[in-house]
């Protein structure tokens, strides 16, 4: 079979054979997947008793995975909105990759939740039993709807990438039809994303019984950090795959603007975060809140991870990298900064989930400290499932870059030619 070569543009070298590095990487990922599969089956067969979760600390590593994955998938709605709603057509050069990252983030979260709920056979219950008053219900419905939007957004890319699929007439027609509905899908996707990304923060923010969590800023902090880190992850995988393939995946000016946007988002996040901290921990005195933070300081690395992991290296330093022209032009520095934002988000989601549980409830009428401080280390099987889910998203993205027309304007660095035929 000959590769289809369009005559209008010189199609550049498409490597047909897999390099040893690529094969080793795939083997590594398959091992991760197998670990996850084995651990996941352990949980599904034996129940959640095999985890280190307790009635006092019922959410742990998997909720962190699930919150992080959804947060890191936020680049999809942001860049889709830029392309299809705000008319920045050129940003499609990176938006497709963002959509794939988003799809993998959301499906990873679904996988994590599937293992995490006690009755996985009832995963569909939120669809038929509604409690419209529950933020978690709203999140579940929005996430399902948005996953559908992402599939619709990716479908034309898949069909377009395969000559074989393209030749199947109904598929091709459907792809074209869906492509025309893209602005509506993007608008809808932005709506449900704004909703559930914030509601994930509200999951904690509305819990009046836990002063550490109870906060009106939590929903906004969640969406700001999600946009910053979601865009950062898209930038990171774009630069990384470009380096590995010897290509410039996205035109430099487009990448620059996207990075600048992420930088401003980081600053907005830090701004609200610092005010949120100051309002509850510095300018006011709420005994329960102070006691909680003290307990965290004494029993966990919360203070260090908050100031260094979330604020300084999670947002401020990378914002500087993103916004200062000289640093931004250095692709290695850019990758490092993007990685910092991503790590910052994961640390934040872990801190958010765990800290509220570490501080014990206090409902007794007397003065004695009755309830012990709750401790948690994820069990091996929990790590196994998490590794499997990460492996799944990595392998899917690797194959996506390899087989999909994910970066329509990718150029070979050596020859300076477009890798894919340019249709416009």
């Amino acid at each position: 079979m000959a590769t289809v070569i369009t005559t209008a543009q010189p199609a550049a070298v498409t490597r047909r054979r897999f390099s040893p590095l690529f094969i080793a990487w795939i083997i590594f990922l398959v091992l991760m997947l197998l670990t996850g599969l084995y651990s996941g089956l352990q949980v599904l067969i034996n129940g959640l008793g095999v985890t280190n979760l307790t009635d006092e600390l019922p959410w742990g590593l998997w909720i962190t995975v699930d919150l992080s994955a959804i947060g890191l998938g936020a680049g999809a709605f942001t860049l889709s909105a830029a392309v299809y709603i705000f008319g920045l057509k050129r940003y499609e050069a990176i938006a497709r990759a963002a959509v794939l990252v988003g799809l993998l983030g959301y499906s990873s979260a679904m996988l994590a939740l599937f293992v995490d709920i006690g009755r996985f056979d009832r995963f569909y219950h939120p669809m038929i039993y509604w409690n419209v008053h529950s933020v978690l219900w709203e999140i579940t419905i929005c996430v399902m709807l948005y996953l559908t939007v992402l599939l619709i957004e990716l479908f034309p890319v898949v069909v377009e990438s395969s000559q074989r699929l393209k030749r199947i007439k109904p598929l091709n027609n459907l792809a074209h039809l869906l492509h025309r509905f893209m602005p509506i899908a993007a608008l809808f996707g932005m709506g449900v994303s704004l909703l559930h990304q914030s509601s994930l923060g509200a999951t904690y923010g509305i819990l009046t019984a836990r002063p550490f969590w109870y906060s009106p800023s939590a929903p906004v902090l969640f969406i700001l950090s999600a946009i910053a880190a979601g865009v950062s992850l898209t930038v990171f995988v774009t630069i990384l795959s470009g380096k590995l393939l010897g290509r410039e995946m996205v035109p430099a000016d487009i990448l620059n603007n996207v990075v600048k946007f992420a930088g401003f988002m980081c600053l907005a996040y830090v701004y609200l975060k610092l005010w949120s901290w100051a309002a509850t921990n510095y300018y006011s005195y709420v005994p329960e809140q102070r006691l909680g933070v003290e307990i965290l300081a004494q029993n966990t690395p919360y203070n260090f991870t908050f100031w260094f992991g979330e604020v300084l290296f999670g947002a401020l330093v990378p914002a500087m990298f993103f916004l200062w022209g000289r640093l931004r032009r250095n692709r290695n520095a850019l990758m490092m900064a993007a990685l910092m934002v991503i790590t910052g988000l994961v640390i934040n989601r872990w801190n958010m989930t765990l800290s509220g549980f570490v501080i014990p409830l206090d409902w007794s009428p007397g003065v004695r400290d009755i309830f012990p401080i709750n401790q948690y280390q994820p069990a091996l099987v929990e790590w196994g499932v998490a590794i499997g889910i990460i492996g799944y998203s990595w392998i899917a993205f690797t194959l996506g870059v390899r087989f999909l027309r994910l970066y329509p304007q990718a150029k070979d660095v050596k020859t300076g030619l477009f890798v894919h035929a340019q249709t416009d």
Binding site: N46, G47, L48, G49, T51, L53, D55, E56, P58, W59, L113, D116, I117, G118, R119, R122, F123, H125, P126, I128, Y129, W130, N131, V132, H133, S134, V135, L136, W137, I139, T140, R180, F181, P183, I184, T203, I206, L207, T208, A209, G356, F357, L361, W363, S364, P365, G366, V367, R368, I370, F371, D424
Partner: protein, 278 residues
Amino acid sequence: MTQTPTPTKDKAAKLNILSRREFMTLLIGGGASLVLAATLSEPLDTFASQILHNRARNAHEGDPSYHWGMVIDLSKCIGCDYCVWACQATNDTADDMRWNIRVEDTTPLGDLFHVTRPCLHCKHAPCVEVCPVGATYHRADGLVMMDYNKCIGCRYCQTACPYGARQFNWKERDDVNAQTPEWGQPEVGRRQRGVVEKCTFCVHRIDAGLAKGLMPGVDEEATPACVNVCPVNARFFGNLNDPESTVSKIIATMPTLRLREDLGTEPSVYYIPPEGLV
């Protein structure tokens, strides 16, 4: 729009999402089918009302003329744990997931006292509000109930409950109930792995008792096991809606407190404080 026949026209055509004609067709077609579906389809209507009123659907359970409540006298409680064990036997709970627990507490002057805590059956129950599937709900008589067949085991209710009153079935139960037969016999079935459970105020006794014409809180057969077993009569049960019930009279005449009143959950369990506490 300019009519210049340049490549820009092609682009403009591509950017055009829907023509007016297509848009109208969609609008009219979609609208018509919606109207048709809404008026003609009985099953759709039932389905819609089912999902939209999921939480309210259980409201027919229980009689609204009652509001079941409990009074626990902390000045009387000697910390014997009988109520803990009777509950465990009656509701067949495991040692590490008791519905009714006892903790030791101290007054500001340092005097020891005991607090026992069932589910408080709050009027504004955080667990009911957060449950994504409405598996935990209010009955008309104030009870906060669990539908074990709806629960997906997400454990958000455990996260939201200010009193730690909810237990999750982490594993399939295969333990022998340590409190039987000494403290009673199981009156309800064991719960499945993967769902959350909690104290029910012995709802099976209340409902069966009322059907027989008995009064919960007065007739032992219709009263929660923890109340019956208390050797010092520190627990009272009854209808808070009836000013003549024992619980209403105690609340009207004695100083009482409810746990974490500041949260506005309005529990149905009142405590008579021990000496030296408020």
